[in-house]
């Protein structure tokens, strides 16, 4: 794929974002079922750290520091050369490794198979969960009405 193009960057941004937020059990189940597993070398072994999450004053104003969140990251190179980076929320070395391998594979000819076997089902499951929550929220929508006073 064209990794340098806008579309390539946008696509990669999309799958890396998906992998970062993916629920552990789901991601690992899909990854464990995937084959063939590629050979790779570590460029940076998984490490857990913190990132400072920022908010904005009044929701739209100047930034301020809200607090940190845990993130695990790693980088690796496939034997054939593609470099994959894994960034996942929380502490999960195995999850970061899977994310980096999937990121690397997505840049190879195996990309289509990885998308079909892992990314699409993952995206669908996350979208279903999101829609279910939105549906429960929608069921709690109320219409308050103020009562008209008698003397009017």
């Amino acid at each position: 794929m064209d990794e340098t193009g806008i579309n390539g960057t946008e696509a990669r941004r999309g799958w890396m974002s998906l992998l970062a937020r993916a629920p552990e059990r789901r991601l690992m189940a899909l990854w464990d079922a995937f084959s063939p597993r590629p050979e790779f070398n570590w460029l940076r072994r998984p490490e857990t750290g913190a990132v400072m999450v920022r908010g904005r004053m009044g929701g739209t104003g100047a930034p301020f520091n809200l607090g940190e969140m845990t993130v695990t990251r790693c980088s690796l190179a496939l034997a054939e050369g593609a470099v994959g980076h894994g960034y996942v929320q929380g502490r999960g070395a195995a999850r970061a490794e899977a994310a980096a391998l999937i990121d690397a594979l997505m840049q190879t000819e195996a990309g289509g198979a990885v998308r079909a076997a892992i990314l699409d089902p993952l995206e669908e499951a996350m979208q279903t969960a999101r829609t279910a929550r939105a549906a429960k929220a929608a069921a709690t929508k109320v219409d308050f009405f103020t009562l008209v006073r008698g003397e009017d």
């Binding site: 940190e68 990251r73 219409d143």
Partner: protein, 363 residues
């Protein structure tokens, strides 16, 4: 002054062993799993994440288990753990206007676009103990559903901004101060104040916020908007050269709308207080917004009424429950050397007073 003491190793070891036994409680009762704490005591988990200032539900659940449910002790454990983590960087400011809202209400605008969505709230419950919960093995519950809304839910203040009837937030991309990296100094900017408040003790901020409602620095707040939901967290990744979402966090955001008579430079308009806190932490977010608004008296040209909630140094220096508990609880540790000298002093004063009394009696 605290002077180190030696000895007591065996007693300390045995005390900690007993602590572990007591933590486990009666062995006939099933042990709590972290997943149970995370899923079923989620508001305790949220509080530990907010005041521990580290978003990680699994770690917060572990801290609660280890601390036997003492949330300040759990927050202490999280604060200690976070100091061991390397800092990978800072995220882009989260866009709360794009939040997937579980809850979104306004006490001021009944016809808010996007609607009033109650979400999973304690509001309107009768606060009667539900003895059905005492019976274990209840069936799994499924909440009713309705047609989901897919559009973003814009902030209510955005709809009023056109009229200029509500104060606008000045736009800025200035890098904010970080009180975990630089010691606090006063006067602190609003960036430091908000960081301090969002990790501050819920009880302390609740008390201060309540004091403003009761008339100490009265600023008559309404909840313009309260929303709870998840937002994506984006960060620039240097090795990639572009930003990706590195996760999502649940947040509670509260914007208050406050009366303002206007000043020499500003026409009468509504002003705002702001609260933004990790997790579903609504009481804390509302408290934060009220205290934020009270602390803004100087920039809004209001009078210093001498109220505690207006005193930035007082508020920020005492809102951190780990600093507070550390200093408070250290007085129970051995102070024998100090106390020995105090004892000597008091005995000496008493001897002198006694000698004086004897002399007076003799005269």
């Amino acid at each position: 002054m605290y002077v180190a003491v030696k000895g007591g190793e065996r007693a300390i070891e045995n005390a900690h062993a007993w602590l572990a036994e007591e933590r486990r409680g009666n062995g006939d009762v099933a042990e709590l799993s972290l997943a149970q704490i995370r899923e079923q005591l989620s508001l305790a988990v949220n509080r530990v994440m907010a005041e521990g200032s580290l978003y990680d539900p699994d770690l917060a659940a572990l801290a609660i288990k280890q601390a036997r449910g003492d949330l300040i002790e759990a927050i202490f454990l999280i604060r200690a753990y976070r100091t061991t983590l390397p800092r990978f960087g800072a995220t882009k400011p989260v866009d709360t206007g794009a939040m997937d809202c579980d809850r979104r209400i306004s006490a001021t605008f009944k016809d808010a676009p996007g609607g009033q969505v109650l979400g999973p709230t304690f509001d309107y419950t009768h606060r009667l103990l539900d003895f059905k919960l005492a019976a274990e093995g209840g069936e799994s519950l499924e909440a009713p559903k309705a047609a989901p809304r897919h559009q973003p839910t814009p902030h209510i203040t955005e709809f009023l901004a056109g009229e200029d009837i509500i104060q606008r937030e000045p736009e800025s991309e200035a890098a904010p101060g970080d009180l975990t990296r630089q010691p606090m100094s006063f006067p602190a900017g609003r960036d430091i104040r908000l960081q301090s408040l969002t990790r501050g003790d819920e009880g302390f901020l609740l008390g201060l916020a309540y004091s403003t409602q009761r008339g100490y620095a009265r600023n008559h707040a309404f909840v313009g908007e309260l929303r709870i939901g998840t937002v994506a967290v984006e960060m620039e990744i240097p090795e990639l050269g572009f930003a990706i979402e590195i996760g999502e966090v649940e947040l509670t955001e509260c914007e208050t709308v406050n009366q303002f008579k206007g000043s020499k430079t500003e026409p009468p308009q509504f002003t705002r207080g702001y609260g933004l806190v990790f997790g579903q932490t609504e009481r804390k977010a509302i408290s934060m917004a009220l205290v934020d608004r009270a602390l803004r008296w100087r920039e809004l040209g209001e009078d210093d009424l001498g109220a505690a909630a207006q005193d930035e140094e007082f508020v920020l220096s005492h809102s951190d429950n780990i600093q507070a508990t550390g200093f408070l609880e250290h007085i129970k540790l051995p102070h024998y050397v100090d106390f020995q000298s105090e004892l000597e002093l008091v005995r000496k004063l008493r001897r002198e007073a006694g000698a004086d009394a004897t002399r007076e009696a003799a005269e």
